[in-house]
Amino acid sequence: MNVVVCVKQIPDPAAPPKLDPQTHTLDRSGKLIMDDSDAYGVEMALQLADSAGGGEVTLVSMAPHGETSGLRTALAMGAARAILISDDALAGSDALGTAKVLAAAIARAEPDLVLAATESTDGYTGTTPVQVAELLGFPSVTFAKKVTVDGSSVRVERQTEAGYDEVTSPLPAVVTVTAGVVEPRYPSFKGIMAAKSKPVDNLTVADLGLEPGQVGAAGARQEIVEVAAAEERGAGEIVEDEGDGADRIVAFLESIKVI
């Protein structure tokens, strides 16, 4: 079974995020790492390919400047190869433009199953995987908290407001996984060494047969008007607990008539 995992390479979330002062888009000029949310999809893919008795796990990523450090992390976990789409024309892409690029690249890998996170940690639009599914003509199941593959269909426990639904879908399909769907492995030293020589196909917009006007800032049909500081809450009272923390909370709850 061939599984494609969408992997986003993002600025380190631990560092303070910055916006480009001109475009108001997220500054991605620094080092990028694999979005933690994608580790679950990578692990799920490895386990599903393994239990299906073979097949390859291929990573697909769109990133600026030929960035591969996040892909190397996923390759070190055990993925076989990666497709990287990197092209200056892609800067400023909106979610639909990104989906067009990813879908064109994914189609090349002829997957049985496409996995992605429910949303990225940096942009969190949460629509790209479903847009990819529609572009590929695949069914999709979002918010999976459990995924099993049985021959030519996938069975998913899908998160709902009330609990969860058991959902089945024929393959090929797109499934988005929540964090916690599986416990991602840590790359072993051997895995890290092996990842250095695993193949990464570098593609451009032209390679994918897409028109430049469909993607990047040229294809984006939404614009950022401004970014301003949010209204701040008035400063509260912050105190060290000296055994009186509980009493202070009781007094506060009384003052706002909750108790």
Partner: protein, 322 residues
């Protein structure tokens, strides 16, 4: 260009229309002269009364989906209506599991982009949208620059729901066209996780726990405190990911948006992901060991201390009062 017509995706729940859909109908009335709604499921008649009460004049009914996941069929039905020439200038979609699926599918079918995570809107030379970024410390304003209809995915509780007292909306059938493979995902069985007490996103008091609790067993303290305050128990993404509590407890970007009278954050540092879901609570109490935790920047009362000491003392104090 002024907004003439807005459609609102009217999602139903076991207990009637989704509150977020009613919020969007209210906002649609404020920005557009004509408000219409789109729904699916078995009960269009009661939905027509509910959306009419909030100002929709027409309800497009996609009908019963026969167990199919809504994303593909509902998007296809809406696209067919738009292609027939009666489309709106804007479609407002609540940011739910199904709402996001429908918005994504529709975006491709219409070849229109989507704006997601909207927390506010302003009208004037078209609609502009507000998005909370960087943990809600910054508000980004965006707008569509191409032809409509724009697809707007809006977070719950961004607007207050107020009825207009209108009559039931006229129901118009919106049939699902042939879908091919995209519509093949089917719900085989539904599982409802029992919860006691008020719902997380409706409770007046929310008590949430995070990593600072140290272990899954200590989440019982959160549940006990929530019960004593007649509130609901919530959680940070960190402990949901760790498997301590079900996803349905999660407050934040990927989880529920809550706006209670008082929010008590216990052992939660206040990651961006969490703050977006709770920082508009009326009163915020935080207990955390780390004085530099971001949660203290939004707290009305912050206790720098060990939750495992403060919570048991607080529970005892509340018990001795009742």
């Amino acid at each position: 260009m002024p907004i003439a017509k807005v459609w609102v995706l009217a999602e139903s729940t076991d207990s009637g229309p989704l509150p977020a859909s009613l919020e969007l109908l209210t906002e649609a009335r404020a920005v557009a002269s004509t408000v219409e709604a789109v729904t699916w499921g078995a009960d269009a008649a009661s939905m027509a009364a509910a959306v009419g009460e909030y100002g929709a004049t027409t309800l497009y009914d996609v009908g019963d989906l026969g167990g199919a996941l809504p994303g593909s069929p509902v998007a296809a039905a809406i696209a067919a209506l738009v292609e027939a020439g009666n489309g709106p200038d804007a479609l407002f979609v609540p940011a739910t599991y199904d709402g996001r699926d429908i918005a994504g599918r529709l975006s491709v079918r219409l070849d229109r982009p989507v704006l997601t995570n909207i927390v506010g809107m302003a009208e004037g030379d078209g609609l502009s949208t507000e998005h909370a970024i960087f943990g809600g410390t910054q508000i980004l304003t965006a707008r569509f620059s191409g032809p409509g209809p724009g697809i707007y995915v809006v977070r719950a509780k961004s607007f207050a729901a107020e009825p207009s007292g209108g009559p039931a909306a006229a129901v118009v059938a919106a049939p699902v066209p042939e879908l091919g493979a995209t519509g093949a995902a089917r719900i085989v069985e539904r599982h409802v996780e029992e919860r006691t007490g008020p719902k997380l996103d409706e409770a007046d008091v929310v008590v949430s726990g995070g990593r600072g609790l140290g272990s899954a067993e200590n989440y019982a303290l959160i549940e006990e405190l929530a019960k004593l305050l007649h509130g609901a128990a919530g959680a940070s993404r960190a402990i949901v990911d760790a498997g301590w509590v079900p996803y349905s407890h999660q407050v934040g970007q990927t989880g529920k948006t809550v706006k209670p009278n008082v929010y008590v954050a216990c052992g939660i540092s206040g990651a961006t992901q969490h703050m977006v879901g709770m920082k508009n609570s009326k009163n915020i109490v935080a207990v955390n060991k780390d004085r530099d935790a971001p949660i203290f920047s939004v707290a009305d009362l912050g206790i720098v201390g060990d939750v495992l000491k403060v919570l048991p003392a607080l529970i005892e104090a509340l018990k001795s009062r009742s």
